[in-house]
Symmetry: C2
Subunit: 269 residues, 2 copies
C-alpha cells in the first residue's frame, strides 16, 4: 500500500430535489477524478430535514434507482471508490438513512445507519448490521454515518474488523460551542482515529434546510488522530484532499509494549 | 447538587524521594483548601521512571503507609476528596500502579491501573477490577489512571455506573505532534467526556526523569467535552481550578430524542 488520495466534497443538497442532488454529486465525483476515494455527505441524494416518513419515502430510492446507478457507472468510469449517503426505500413504506460504498468494479455495499439522530427516529428504520469493512485494492475501507461516530463501540467494531480507512458521510447539526474551540464532532473523530490507529474521512454538508444548519466541519484525520485537512467549521462548499499512507493503520503499536487493540481487556468490559 | 470546585495540581514528583513527594503533596492539598476535590498526578507518591520492579518495590507503600495515612488525615482535616497516584506494595514483591480516592470521612478506595503503559508492563501487576465509582456528598466520583483513558470501553464502564465526575491521575509521556495541535491525550479526554456527558479532571505531571518528559497537559473538561481549565501543554507547575455544575452530568439527553447511554445498542456490539 502506497499513499492514496481521498477527497471529501462538502456540498449542500436540496431537500427532495433529486435531480439537482444527482447532478451536484456527479460534478463532485468527476472533480475527484484521479483520487482513489471520494466521500460525500449523509443523505446526499435526498437532502435531510424531512417532516415525516411519507415525505422521505417520496424522495427515497432503491439500490437500482437513478442515483445509485449513476454512482456505480461513475465509480467504474473513473476508477474511484465512492462513499455517499442516500435515502433508501425499504419495503412497506419504510425508509433507511443509508450509505452506498461503491468499488470501481461496481460492487455495491449498502449500510443503514444504526444510531439515529433526533427526529430521524420518527422517520427512518435503524440498521441492524455492523458497519461494513470491505477489502479493496487500496486497503480495507469501512463506513458508517454521522451519529454512529458518537458511539466509540461502533467505531471499534469497524477497527477490530481491520479497517484502514473509515469513511463517514455526516450532516453534523450546528450548535453552540465555546469561542475558539474546534467543534466537538471533529474532536471525537480525532479520538476515534487515534485509539484505533485508523484514518477517518468525514464529509459534512453546509447550507440550511427548514431552520437546520450544519457545522460544515468536513475533516480528514491521520492514524494518530491529527487533522490532515479540514477540521474547522466552514459553512460553505469545500473540497478537502489528503494523501493517506494507509499502511500506517496496519501498525497498531504506539510504544514498544503497547498495541491499541491487543491492550484491550474484553474480559473486563 | 450545586457547583463544586475541583483543583488539579500539576507537580513534579522525584523518583524514589518519598519524603519530598509527600511534602509536595501535602503543600498542594493544603493549597486546595476550600475546594471539594483535588486531583494529583499518577505515582505522585513515588515518581515514575523505575528501572525495574525491585526499585519500584523499594519506593512502594501499603495503604497504611505514611503517604496514604497523611492523605487520609488531610482529607478529614480539610473536608476534601483527594484522588492521587501511588506505588502500591502488593504481596510477594509485586507492585501496582494505583490511586487512592479518599473521602473526607477518611474512607479509602484503592484502584489499580488495568491498562499499563510501555515498560510499566515489566514492573507493575495490572489491576483486575473496574474503575471505582463512589457515592460522595457532592455526587458520584469515579477514577482511573492515565492509559486507562485511552480505552473508551473503560471510561464507558465508569460512566454507565453513574459517574458524574471522573478523576484521572496521569503521567502523559510527551511526544511529537503537529504544531498548533492540542495534545491528543487531551483530545481524547474531551471525547470521553462528551460521549458520556460526564465531567473529567485529568492531572498530569511535569519535569524530567531519566530522559522521560511529560505533556504537562492537565485538563478539566465539562460534560460537553469542552475545556474549563488547562488543555494546553505547560511543562511547569500549574494549579487548575474549575467550578463544575455536576448536576449537568445527570442529564444524558443531547437532543429531544437522544440520550448518550440509552442510544447504545449493546446487542450489536
Amino acid at each position: 500500500m502506497t499513499s492514496i488520495t481521498v477527497v471529501c466534497h462538502q456540498l449542500a443538497p436540496r431537500i427532495g430535489d433529486l435531480d439537482y442532488n444527482r447532478a451536484l454529486s456527479e460534478s463532485a465525483i468527476r472533480g475527484a477524478s484521479g483520487a482513489q476515494v471520494i466521500v460525500l455527505p449523509e443523505l446526499m441524494q435526498s437532502g435531510y430535514a424531512f417532516d415525516n416518513r411519507g415525505e422521505a419515502h417520496a424522495a427515497s430510492e432503491t439500490d437500482d434507482g437513478p442515483t445509485l446507478s449513476l454512482w456505480r457507472a461513475l465509480a467504474s468510469e473513473l476508477d474511484i471508490i465512492i462513499v455517499a449517503g442516500f435515502c433508501e426505500r425499504l419495503s412497506a413504506g419504510r425508509v433507511a438513512n443509508s450509505l452506498a460504498l461503491i468499488q470501481p468494479a461496481g460492487r455495491l455495499t449498502v449500510y443503514r445507519k444504526a444510531h439515529l439522530w433526533d427526529r430521524e427516529k420518527l422517520i427512518f428504520t435503524p440498521g441492524t448490521e455492523p458497519p461494513p469493512v470491505v477489502e479493496t485494492k487500496i486497503g480495507r475501507v469501512a463506513a458508517m454515518i454521522c451519529y454512529d461516530l458518537e458511539l466509540p463501540e461502533w467505531v471499534r467494531l469497524a477497527a477490530l474488523a481491520g479497517a484502514d480507512l473509515l469513511c463517514a458521510p455526516v450532516n453534523w447539526p450546528d450548535g453552540p460551542r465555546p469561542a475558539d474551540e474546534r467543534p466537538g464532532e471533529i474532536v471525537r473523530v480525532q479520538a476515534n482515529a487515534a485509539v484505533n490507529r485508523m484514518f477517518i474521512a468525514a464529509c459534512d454538508r453546509y447550507g440550511e434546510e427548514r431552520g437546520i444548519t450544519w457545522v460544515g466541519g468536513s475533516t480528514i484525520v491521520d492514524a494518530n488522530g491529527y487533522p490532515l485537512a479540514g477540521a474547522v467549521s466552514h459553512q460553505r462548499e469545500q473540497r478537502l484532499v489528503a494523501q493517506l499512507p494507509l499502511a500506517e493503520a496496519r501498525d497498531k503499536f504506539i510504544s514498544e509494549h503497547n498495541h491499541v487493540h491487543q491492550d484491550r481487556r474484553p474480559g473486563l468490559y
